[in-house]
Symmetry: C2
Subunit: 385 residues, 2 copies
């Protein structure tokens, strides 16, 4: 096992009807900015539950945070925070709203000239404005971690940020919210969480037996509940397991003490920036090619994954190869397509373009060995056409 | 899954050589009370590492905290805290030293007439004196939870306490400490952690698929590393997995959202109080009889455990029965005896005596259904002779 430090102070509040508990979690004298996305919370009843729970609070609202939270939109929210003397943020939404809220929690206390610096200069947030979340869309795990990914349309960039000051004070997970999530988003959520686990698992063995098994546990559970959830998102047990898997997939637990990859995300982010493909789908496009291209360095973990998660038997090398196929089939079972050409007709030249963008940005090497070059990336993206 | 809240703010610092990092974790102006047990840390080098790391601090020492931390001894430490105006506690030891330190963290701020009230009246500690730990003996998980068990020799009692104010600020887990742990304590640690998992798992299914798999992961890992550790505690990988399993077995993670039992502990504590049998060994004595006696209510989980953890196949009922036997064999493989008569010749009458003690104390019901009566307890203890 590698050395590690783990601290995650977020209070997780899980259960049906738990949104009503909001007022116990936010200081009574807080001036709250309620942040949300496209407004679906106003039709599915969550908005009403939140407002009822916070009836005694001084609340300002900011809706319209888009998927892949956009810097320019967030700057508008930042003005509201300053003009209205906001002291507490409440994100009601999925990963995009929560990530956007984390940016605001950081930017609200940032004293530099331009908030984009937090992202472009990788400034770690030690202290941010306190915030909580009500999760409406299980997927990213942002509700229990201290990281965020922000998009800047102007430059077609997605950049990440983080720091110990960006853990939510609390996150409410009510499995009833899952019933109003559209099929497409359910499939995205399962795919996103599954790939998060792969990024922290599909590397090379370091004798971290428990972390490996925890990672496998999350994947096994996602595989088990996926058909249940897709057919009946009102199945409260499966919905709860789904939410909890998404949270545990990226709250730091399974990444501690093991090497992590994240090359699939790095490449996937480029596809979203270029073609606006759903984040989760970009991961499903890249992951299989990435594992095939890096088969030699990932072989042992691919075999372990095939054996333990998919129950495959046979010669190790064969199990490893078949495990990649089973992963693709799993994505297909969710109606997630795994080739770039199934999302855009204009895919030609994408690989070269991404190679160029990575090269321009100053290359540090991708993957668990930091060894993948822009040329490797080009090949992997080409294999994903 | 049942509703739950989960928050664990302890910072875990894992790795070889991490004791040197102590000074980064304790405020520079702290007046530190260094607490330890029988003094083995002075022969195995850990004491020297701690002193070197804290060379610039103002440190007072209190050694001699016994296994099953004793109230009278802790009262002496409490006097030191008050006389010396201590502001920070540092536990260097195993579960007993850490539990004793938690009592002191609570008692230091307690304003009532008699600190034993914290235990006898189940007073929850919302705010305690800050403390950190250097774990020297993996077993109890106390290094990452907010509970403690304290013994009072005078009345032959073991009582528990806890509260959000009793999470360690940090805990340092250096796998190198495992090499100086005696065989007997290694066996105890593995047995203790394994039984902690059983207490939170061997109940009835509630559709908490991920918690079940996490629990099974810990047990599978303990089974895998047990022979390695017993033969060579200097195997750093296995030692690290062992430490991490013990921590994860009782840091709140696997108990959230599921029913828990803890009847084995309740009965085991009595055996320690009466005969001074090692805590872990009392669990190994009670657990098999407890599962046989409560077979009907625990059957489904026993079967799942047999299938997933021990890889047993066959008719469910048979798998469940054999799973109990495999658990006993596992304890035997660690040279842990599983019958009370193997520990004391004076076992006759124990069952009646424990029945009486529970009845006197005011009975609330034991186990996940709160349905076990003192009479049930008597039978289970008799089955354990």
């Amino acid at each position: 096992m590698l050395n590690f430090e783990f601290k995650n102070p977020t209070k997780l509040i899980f259960g049906t009807g738990k949104i009503a508990q909001l007022a116990q979690e936010i200081p009574a004298d807080a001036r709250v900015l309620l942040l949300y996305g496209g407004g679906s919370i106003k039709t599915n009843g969550i908005y009403d539950q939140v407002k009822a729970a916070l009836a005694s609070y001084d609340i300002v609202e900011f809706g319209g945070i888009p998927a892949n939270p956009e810097y320019e939109v967030l700057l508008q929210a930042l003005s509201v925070i300053k003009e209205q003397s906001i002291t507490y943020l409440l994100a009601v939404g999925g990963g995009s709203v929560i990530d956007g809220t984390k940016f605001l929690a950081s930017a609200a206390y940032y004293t530099g000239p331009e908030p984009w610096d937090i992202l472009s200069q990788s400034i770690r947030t030690e202290h941010g404005m306190p915030f909580g979340t009500v999760l409406t869309l299980p997927a990213t795990g942002s509700e229990m971690n201290s990281g965020a990914v922000i998009t800047r349309a102007e430059t077609q960039e997605k950049r990440s940020m983080g720091g110990p000051g960006l853990f939510p004070a609390f996150s409410i997970l009510d499995p009833q919210v899952v019933r109003s999530v559209p099929q497409r988003q359910l499939a995205n959520g399962i795919t996103d969480a599954f790939t998060h686990v792969l990024e922290q698992y599909m590397t090379y063995p370091v004798g971290a037996r428990l972390q490996d098994r925890f990672a496998e546990s999350i994947m096994q559970t996602l595989i088990e509940i996926a058909p249940v959830i897709m057919q009946n998102p009102a199945d409260t047990d499966a919905a709860g397991d789904f939410m909890y898997c998404c949270t545990m997939a990226l709250n730091g637990l399974i990444q501690k003490g093991v090497p992590t990859d994240w090359a699939v995300h790095a490449m996937g982010h480029e596809l979203t920036a270029l073609y606006n493909i759903d984040h989760a789908r970009t991961l499903a496009i890249i992951a299989p090619s990435h594992y095939r291209y890096n088969f030699r360095t990932k072989r042992e973990k691919l075999t372990q994954y095939g054996q333990r998660v998919w129950g495959l038997t046979g010669p190790p090398e064969e199990v490893a190869i078949r495990a990649i196929g089973r992963t693709e089939e799993f994505f297909h079972s969710l109606d997630i397509k795994t080739k770039l050409s199934q999302y855009t007709e204009n895919y030609e030249g994408t690989a070269e373009r991404i190679e160029e963008r990575f090269t321009e940005r100053g290359w540090l090497g991708l993957g668990e060995h930091k060894s993948l070059t822009p040329q490797d990336v080009r090949t992997i993206v080409e294999m994903s056409y």
